[in-house]
């Protein structure tokens, strides 16, 4: 279909809608000037319109939330290349398609890898990083599938992964631009304008993490309030990978001191530090992943690079 043909269909469609329903037929008869194909096309669209009142009126996210409520979608994103290009799936869901695949991205625009998919607290959206050139960009996809959308409206610099706020409304992450690192937060609606929480921070490599109570964000060597107005230094306690206790009152952390990997906790209210143990030189964290605390709060998981010596 040519562009001018489509524009004519669109024009007549909207003009016909301004007519009383009983006068539309006559209006189209006259407006289409004997072009029967044009008249059929517009009439067919108007007929669909009358049947499609509720069609896609509920956002995909709500549909997914209903599916989750019915237990159809499980809560874990799963990254796989079993079908060739990388794909993100929801583990144990009954979906017959991935949430998003490398095929959703134009060839050459980004590399074909997904980095660190993280599911929203109510499991309706997934945020992940893809690399274009030398810079990362954050993307968001509805868990029910569909087209990926850039998380932010930024066009310059790079973005690095972070974590969701407990209510799912925000995402905190590092932005790398003009040779410096800024701690940012952005609404999770897609293509939103990010807000700088703190400019020119120490990158520190580890991912910023939002407390379960929503009061604090831990990153690098300090805690910062979600409005960016209050900071609390972690001092010598900082610099590591973190996990909040389920009630948000304790921050667990791991930092390297020479050949030691120290596990410690910080009481958020008092700032008191308690060293929990030394995990030894062979168990340094391998990536920017934070510690992942077990639901019972008694153990945690993190990744370690296995050396040839270990093998």
């Amino acid at each position: 279909m040519t562009s001018s043909r489509w524009q004519e269909i669109e024009r007549l469609y909207h003009l016909a809608l301004q007519q009383d329903p009983e006068k539309r037929e006559a209006f189209l008869e006259k407006g289409c000037e004997g072009d029967e194909s044009l008249q059929r096309e517009v009439k067919s669209l108007l007929a669909s319109r009358s049947e499609a009142k509720d069609f896609i009126e509920s956002p995909a996210l709500e549909i997914t939330a209903k599916a989750i409520a019915k237990g159809r979608v499980e809560q874990h994103p799963d990254l796989t290349d079993r079908n060739g290009p990388q794909e993100i799936w929801l583990r144990k869901g009954d979906s017959d398609r991935p949430v998003v695949t490398a095929r959703n991205f134009p060839a050459g625009e980004t590399t074909q890898m997904f980095w660190r998919p993280t599911l929203s607290p109510n499991a309706d959206r997934v945020i992940y990083l893809r690399v274009r050139g030398a810079s990362g960009r954050l993307w968001i996809s509805a868990a029910s599938g569909g087209s990926p959308i850039n998380l932010t409206d930024e066009t310059e610099g790079g973005e690095f992964f972070g974590s969701w706020s407990p209510d799912g409304g925000w995402y905190v992450y590092f932005a790398l631009r003009n040779g410096r690192t800024d701690l940012m937060k952005v609404k999770t609606i897609g293509q939103a304008t990010p807000v700088t929480l703190k400019a020119n921070v120490t990158f520190g490599y580890a991912t910023p993490i939002w407390s379960p109570s929503g009061d604090w964000i831990a990153y690098g060597q300090e805690l910062i309030s979600p409005d960016g107005k209050t900071t609390r230094p972690l001092g010598s306690k900082g610099g590591g990978r973190y996990a909040f206790s389920a009630d948000g009152k304790l921050l667990y952390g791991m930092r390297s001191e020479g050949e030691h990997n120290m596990l410690f906790s910080v009481d958020i209210a008092t700032g008191a530090e308690k060293v929990l143990g030394d995990l030894g030189k062979n168990y340094s964290p391998a990536t920017a992943s934070n510690l992942s605390l077990a639901p019972d709060g008694k153990s945690f998981v993190y990744d370690v690079r296995k050396s040839k010596l270990n093998l």
Binding site: L45, L46, R49, D54, S58, P59, K66, G145, S147, Q191
Partner: protein, 85 residues
């Protein structure tokens, strides 16, 4: 999957979203902006005004795009699927 089922994605949301995604790809070939409006409104959950801000068009224009895109997609999904060659 019939369109009756598809209308509210009540029984098999994933399967119907596949059809919608296919229809959206076809719409993008005809009118990329309308496809983008649907992406932002349906998949992104944006309001008319928010969609207008992203696309730098008025909320009225978003509404007109949305109205026609819905009719077009609904009709597209109702058509029998072409068998692969």
């Amino acid at each position: 999957v019939s369109l009756d089922e598809a209308s509210l994605f009540a029984s098999r949301p994933d399967a119907n979203l596949v059809e919608l995604d296919d229809a959206l790809t076809a719409l993008a070939a005809v009118d990329p902006r309308k496809a983008r409006v649907v992406e932002l409104r349906f998949f992104g959950g944006l309001s008319l005004e928010e969609t207008g801000e992203v696309l730098k068009i008025s909320a009225d224009t978003v509404w007109r795009d949305w109205d026609l895109a819905k009719s077009w997609l609904y009709r597209q999904m109702k058509r029998p699927a072409r068998k692969p060659r």
